[in-house]
Structure formats: structure tokens, C-alpha cells
């Protein structure tokens, strides 16, 4: 395993052995998670790569790329894979519990408060305002991700994008049905285009 024992980056050839205990894993992921408003990825990178030096930046990017193309919550996938690399399945469970446990407790308290006070007019108005801003943040992510497709005039990609948007957002078709058609189609087209480019 190259993750427990490796040389440190540009500073020199100093070898470091990292083998955090399960409790250390739990605490580290709880800290990253509780720091992460509007997404934990930035803090996970900071914690894993910069602070604890448990992974190099490249290792982190590779692992994240893998977890991003697999379904499910990316950061949870990353945490699971990462925990297992350091300490096996117990490591996965410790890191996952740290990532999800404390913020889930906060969420449950928020849920209790919402149930009790959700009908209060001032709170309803505040949440409406927060929702408007939060939707803007999500649209910013969409635009940022779309930019590379537009720049390289990826017509097929953009058509797939619009088709999924219409099917799910406008026609309100079930996700599974749409993706069972869209995923094989998109992979087939991408594969065919790559072959054509290579030829």
C-alpha cells in the first residue's frame, strides 16, 4: 500500500508513516464536515491533503474523480474509499460516522425546530429568502460545469444535457427510467466519438 508509507512532496525525500487511529479518523472527518457549509469537498481536500498529509493532491484528485463518476453522494463515497485505504472497513465506518454523524444530529435538531416553529411567519419568510439564494448557488455550479462543454462546442454533450433537463425538470419523468436510457446512450455516443477521433 502506498498510502500509509510514502515520500513527502517537493520538500525532499523525508519519509512519513501515517496510520491514524479510528478515533483520529472520526474526529478529522467530523471537523471537516462541520466546517463545510455548502459542501464539504474543499474542507476534505484541506484536511486530508494539506493538514494531515494522508494523501498527495494527485491521489486525492484521482480518488475524487472515481467517486464523482460513481452514483451517490460523492463526498460520502470518497470518505468510505479513503477510510478503507487507511484502516480497512473499520476505517471506512469511522470516517463515515465522523462525516455524517455530527452534522446529521444538527440536521435532526433543525428538523425538530422546523416542525415546532416552521409555521411562524418570520421563519417562513427567512427560509424563502435563503432558498432563493441557495438556488442561485446551485445555478452557479451548473454554469461553471457547462462552460467547458460550451467552449469545446460539445454539441452532443449539450444535447444530452438539455434532454435530461427537459425529461426530469419539465416532464417530471422518473429518474431511473430516464437514466436507464440516457446513460447507455451517452456512453455509446462518447465511445463512438472517441474511436472516430482516434482513427
Amino acid at each position: 500500500m502506498t498510502f500509509a508509507l510514502r515520500t513527502r512532496g517537493p520538500e525532499g525525500s523525508e519519509c512519513q508513516i501515517h496510520s491514524p487511529s479510528l478515533i483520529e479518523l472520526f474526529v478529522a472527518f467530523a471537523k471537516m464536515s462541520l466546517a463545510g457549509f455548502g459542501g464539504v469537498l474543499v474542507w476534505a481536500r484541506r484536511g486530508i491533503v494539506d493538514q494531515h498529509k494522508w494523501m498527495t493532491a494527485d491521489e486525492f484528485n484521482e480518488t475524487f474523480a472515481l467517486c464523482h463518476f460513481l452514483p451517490g453522494p460523492n463526498i460520502v463515497n470518497l470518505t468510505f474509499v479513503f477510510g478503507s485505504r487507511l484502516r480497512g472497513l473499520p476505517g471506512s465506518i469511522a470516517a463515515f460516522s465522523g462525516l455524517v454523524g455530527p452534522p446529521a444530529l444538527i440536521m435532526i435538531v433543525m428538523g425538530m425546530l422546523y416542525h415546532r416553529y416552521g409555521e411562524i411567519d418570520a421563519l417562513r419568510r427567512i427560509l424563502s429568502g435563503v432558498a432563493c439564494a441557495a438556488i442561485g448557488l446551485m445555478l452557479a455550479v451548473v454554469f461553471r460545469m457547462m462552460t467547458p462543454l460550451i467552449k469545446r462546442r460539445d454539441v452532443v454533450g449539450l444535447l444530452m444535457l438539455v434532454a435530461v433537463f427537459v425529461a426530469i425538470g419539465v416532464l417530471r419523468l422518473p429518474l431511473a427510467a430516464v437514466l436507464l436510457v440516457a446513460i447507455p446512450l451517452s456512453i455509446a455516443i462518447t465511445y463512438a466519438m472517441r474511436d472516430k477521433e482516434a482513427a
Partner: protein, 178 residues
């Protein structure tokens, strides 16, 4: 399917299935969460759903925890626990297996193709998330302006997103959102 009898079971089944189709992360699954929670099971109203989304954004932790809130609204603590685990564990185990398989194989070309093929789909899903939430939330001119301003600021500045959420909340408190 008579899932009204046992909402915890319905939550488990719903989110475990949904997670397998959440390409690009939890935000891609928001249209499906809305469809199931609001349209199919009537667990939440439209307004409650956007409230839950706003609360989840205001709280720390991964985006996926919106399902904790949905689960709590449906079936209390048990619902929160079951929804969270159902949404996280199956795909995390899948990720674990795939990462071990890839570490041992040399099929390095496939992940790149699959990734390139999935990115447009996941952007389309996230766009649909924004659209569905906006249909409920952005009903006044000022509300739309808040959304557009937040989108622009998040795109062109490095401002902490939390400030935009707080600003939105203040405008809402002042009664400007409607």
C-alpha cells in the same frame, strides 16, 4: 405499492434506489426527491420541500443530509436514520468495490469514457434541480433578482456562499421576497 402503512420501509426503499441513480452527487437527485416526496407520497408540500432544501444549505455537512431532514419529517428519528443510511451506504459500498477492482486492473480507458459520458447528464440533472426549486421559490421579481445575484456572485467572486444565504435570509425577514 402500499407504502403508507410503513413509511420507514418506503423511505429505505426510495432512497436506496435513488442513490444508485444519483450521478454527480446528492444535488442531482433533488428532482427525484421532490417527485417522490411531494408528488408521489405527499410527504411534504412544495413549500416544505424548498424550506427543507434551504435548511440543509444553511447547515454544515455534506449536501446529502437533506435526506436526513426529509426522513425526519416523514417518520421522526427512525426516518432520519433510515433515510440517511439508505442514501449513503449502498453507493459507498459500491465505490469501495469499484476502487479495489480498478486498483488491480488496467481498464484505465473506461473510467474516462464513462466520466465524459456522465458529466452532461449530471449537469442536466442539477439544472433540473434548480428549475424545480425555483418554480416554488422565485415567484416575485425580487426573489428572482436574489437568485440571479447569488448565481452571478458565486460565479465571479470567491465570496463565502454562506454570506449569500444569510443575505437572502435577511431580505426574506424584511419581507422583500414575498
Amino acid at each position: 405499492m402500499n407504502s403508507d402503512a410503513n413509511p420507514v420501509f418506503a423511505l429505505a426503499l426510495t432512497f436506496a434506489t435513488m442513490s444508485l441513480f444519483a450521478i454527480g452527487g446528492a444535488n442531482s437527485a433533488i428532482p427525484e426527491m421532490h417527485r417522490v416526496a411531494v408528488d408521489v407520497h405527499h410527504w411534504l408540500t412544495d413549500k416544505q420541500f424548498t424550506d427543507v432544501y434551504a435548511i440543509a444549505q444553511l447547515s454544515p455537512g455534506p449536501n446529502v443530509l437533506i435526506v436526513t431532514l426529509i426522513g425526519y419529517s416523514v417518520a421522526g428519528l427512525a426516518g432520519a436514520l433510515v433515510a440517511t443510511l439508505a442514501m449513503c451506504v449502498p453507493t459507498a459500498v459500491l465505490a469501495l468495490f469499484v476502487s479495489r477492482f480498478l486498483a488491480r486492473s488496467s481498464h484505465a480507458r473506461w473510467p474516462a469514457i464513462v466520466q465524459a459520458a456522465l458529466v452532461p447528464l449530471s449537469i442536466g440533472l442539477m439544472g433540473a434541480s434548480g428549475f424545480i426549486l425555483a418554480r416554488t421559490s422565485d415567484r416575485t421579481v425580487i426573489a428572482v433578482l436574489v437568485t440571479v445575484t447569488a448565481a452571478v456572485l458565486a460565479s465571479v467572486t470567491k465570496l463565502n456562499p454562506l454570506w449569500m444565504l444569510v443575505a437572502g435570509g435577511c431580505l426574506g425577514f424584511a419581507g422583500l421576497i414575498g
